[in-house]
């Protein structure tokens, strides 16, 4: 069942269809928002706001509109508004230690469960993830937006171009600059990865 069919069903009062729609898109939206605004509480509020706006505007939704595009448009507009407001205050970073959480000395990213089961590999993955998370957060807004749209939201360059209102070559250029900046930021990551790889190769 497509997203559009689910949305049409919800327009007729089918709450299960709307729950299915939320299940399909909430994780990607959550990760996009969290990476974009770099604050979990704000990302949570924005995620809730995205779906509430969908609920509010469901009556006016036309079947010709793609639901995923509609959702991301709402999310991006919210992020843009949030970025404007964040210019006047210091946004809390994911790697900052909140009061009361410093007892363990772990950052939030450190509490994210690793994908693999190997403890040493998990440590390296955490280190890489920490570096990636920091490097992505330090990207310029336009490059970060394009990078997250492509890597988190799985949008094509054409869709990204339509969303940001730029040409596709411009979007690809932004993507290339984002990768180059990540590469420079992750310079030490390459060394660490090499060490880890060598260690992994040396491990029986």
């Amino acid at each position: 069942m497509t997203d559009e069919a689910l949305m049409a069903a919800y327009q007729k009062g089918d709450l299960a269809a709307f729950a299915e729609l939320v299940d399909r898109h909430e994780q990607r939206l959550w990760n996009f928002l969290r990476r974009f605004v770099r604050d979990e509480a704000t990302a949570e509020d924005l995620l809730q706001e995205v779906f509430l706006r969908v609920v509010k505007s469901a009556v006016d939704w036309q079947p010709s509109a793609k639901v995923s595009t509609w959702l991301f448009t709402i999310a991006r507009n919210l992020c843009t508004d949030q970025a404007r407001r964040a210019e006047y205050r210091r946004a809390e970073s994911l790697d900052l230690v909140k009061a009361g959480e410093g007892d363990s000395g772990l950052r939030r990213i450190d509490r994210v469960p690793a994908a693999s089961g190997n403890a040493e590999t998990e440590a390296i993955d955490h280190e890489i993830a920490s570096l990636v998370d920091r490097a992505v957060g330090e990207l310029p807004l336009e490059q970060r937006e394009v990078f997250l749209m492509r890597e988190v939201m799985d949008m094509s360059f054409a869709e990204i171009a339509a969303q940001v209102g730029a040409s596709e070559p411009t979007v690809k250029s932004r993507m290339r600059y984002a990768l180059q900046r990540l590469r420079s930021k992750l310079g030490e990551l390459h060394q660490a990865t090499g060490v880890a790889a060598a260690a992994a190769e040396g491990t029986p």
């Binding site: 919800y10 009062g13 709450l15 709307f18 729950a19 939320v22 299940d23 909430e26 994780q27 939206l29 959550w30 990760n31 969290r34 990476r35 949570e44 995620l47 809730q48 779906f51 509430l52 609920v55 509010k56 469901a58 009556v59 990213i109 994210v112 469960p113 690793a114 994908a115 993955d125 955490h126 890489i128 993830a129 570096l131 990636v132 998370d133 490097a135 992505v136 990078f147 492509r150 890597e151 988190v152 360059f157 690809k172 250029s173 993507m175 290339r176 990768l179 180059q180 990540l182 590469r183 992750l186 990551l189 390459h190 990865t193």
Partner: protein, 437 residues
């Protein structure tokens, strides 16, 4: 392929969005270029690490509380929507123009009535174009033609069957007071001439009818003082039904007349040719009456023999009228009473009457203007005289005096030119004035 080109195609290569030919060309360049090869490897590694981090350790599920709140809000909205839909009446979609036009109950009859009125008006204009003021002939032509002909009316036809016949042998008393408010049997004559022989018949049948009440009844029934035509609806109704039929408005008067008839005798002859002011209808009306009388060709004339019985005491009638001021009330009622005639003939009669009333004024005005122009010319007021003569020429170009007027205009213009030339000669020029200084 150059290194710059390869660098610009790096993203397409990494995301595999490069055509096959271009990809082979790109790989051929990378294989032969150490720097580009290192760049591609480094960027691929960076993208791999970032993708692994974002989709691995950094990927998180959304907080469950967000989902719960969102679903709760959706359920509340759905419930509110259902409630609102159940409570609120369905708003009908706005109809189109023609649908609204058709649903408007009064519009179609109104348009139909307007169309009928337009057709009637057009037919009337076509049949008688001179109802349009601009279509009337010029004043000079009107002056030389009979009014009925100038209006294009039908030739007047005598109407012996409806015209009031003199009641032979029934001459009333010639004792009318000159300053009486109203007079004697002229009321009856007027009624008879207005096509109301039934009134004369009523008076005839009630010889004891009191004079002033009879006069008032006559005024009420005749509608208009001095009405000379027999084409009022009253007259038509009466005549068309043989003179004995009575329309509903008459009933009260007839009953009253019948009641009054018992009061005392009278000795006035209805329709007699007396010397009262009502005996002779006004000239404009008299001209239109015969033409209009053709509308009731089959109307029978009242029997002359019976008219002799319709006698009322004129002295009694005058005295009573002077006492009670009936004439004033009669005039008011006359003013209130509408004049009803068949549409075309009524309009024609009204036009004829209006022209006849306006004709003397036009003659005088025209003659006055002629005299005024001559006077201006004699007084050597050239400009005004020329203007006045030009107006006369424009109004009556076929007038026999038009040639003279044109000569006067030429003479006035020439005199003006001479006056201007003389004035110019008298006035010193600026050079002369400077020379004088």
């Amino acid at each position: 392929m150059k290194c710059s080109e390869a660098s610009s195609l790096l993203v397409d290569f990494l995301y595999d969005e490069m055509p096959a030919d271009e990809r082979r060309e790109f790989l051929a360049h990378v294989d032969g270029c150490a720097s580009c090869s290192a760049e591609v490897k480094a960027m691929s590694a960076t993208l791999g690490h970032a993708r692994a981090a974002l989709r691995g350790p950094l990927a998180q599920d959304a907080p469950p509380r967000v989902r719960a709140r969102v679903l709760e809000a959706a359920a509340a909205a759905a419930a509110a929507k259902t409630t609102d839909m159940a409570r609120m009446p369905r708003v009908p979609q706005p109809d189109g123009f023609f649908a609204r036009l058709w649903k408007t109950p009064w519009l179609v009859p109104a348009l139909g009535a307007a169309g009928v009125a337009t057709v009637v008006l057009l037919v009337r204009v076509i049949r008688n174009p001179q109802v349009i003021p601009d279509q009337r002939p010029a004043v000079t032509e009107t002056l030389t033609q009979p009014p009925a002909e100038s209006l294009g009316l039908r030739p007047s036809q005598p109407r012996p069957e409806t015209a009031p016949e003199p009641l032979a042998g029934l001459a009333p008393k010639q004792t009318r007071k000159p300053d009486a408010e109203f007079d004697d049997g002229s009321q009856l004559k007027r009624a008879a001439s207005a096509g109301k022989p039934h009134l004369a018949t009523r008076a005839r049948d009630n010889p004891a009818l009191t004079g002033h009440k009879l006069a008032r009844s006559v005024d009420e029934l005749s509608g208009v003082r001095g009405e000379g035509t027999a084409l009022t609806p009253l007259g038509q109704a009466t005549v068309g039904k043989g003179g004995g039929a009575t329309a509903p408005p008459y009933r009260k008067d007839e009953e009253r007349l019948g009641a009054v008839a018992k009061a005392g005798p009278g000795t006035v002859a209805a329709g007699s040719d007396s010397t009262n002011r009502w005996a002779e209808p006004p000239p404009p009306r008299a001209a239109a009456a015969p033409a209009a009388s053709a509308a009731a060709p089959a109307a029978p004339a009242p029997a002359p023999a019976k008219k002799a019985k319709a006698v009322v005491d004129l002295d009694e009638m005058q005295k009573s009228a002077a006492d009670e001021g009936i004439s004033r009330s009669a005039e008011r009622e006359e003013a209130k009473a509408p004049i009803r005639r068949p549409t075309v003939e009524r309009a024609a009669q009204a036009e004829g009457a209006a022209d006849k009333k306006a004709a003397p004024k036009t003659i005088l005005s025209f003659e006055e203007r002629v005299r005024k122009a001559e006077k201006l010319f004699a007084e050597k007021k050239w400009a005004e005289a020329a203007t006045a003569f030009r107006a006369l020429i424009a109004q009556a170009p076929s007038n026999p005096a038009a040639k003279t007027w044109r000569e006067r205009v030429a003479a006035a213009d020439q005199a003006q030119e001479q006056a201007r030339a003389a004035k110019a000669r008298k006035a010193p020029s600026s050079d002369d004035a400077l020379d004088g200084l």
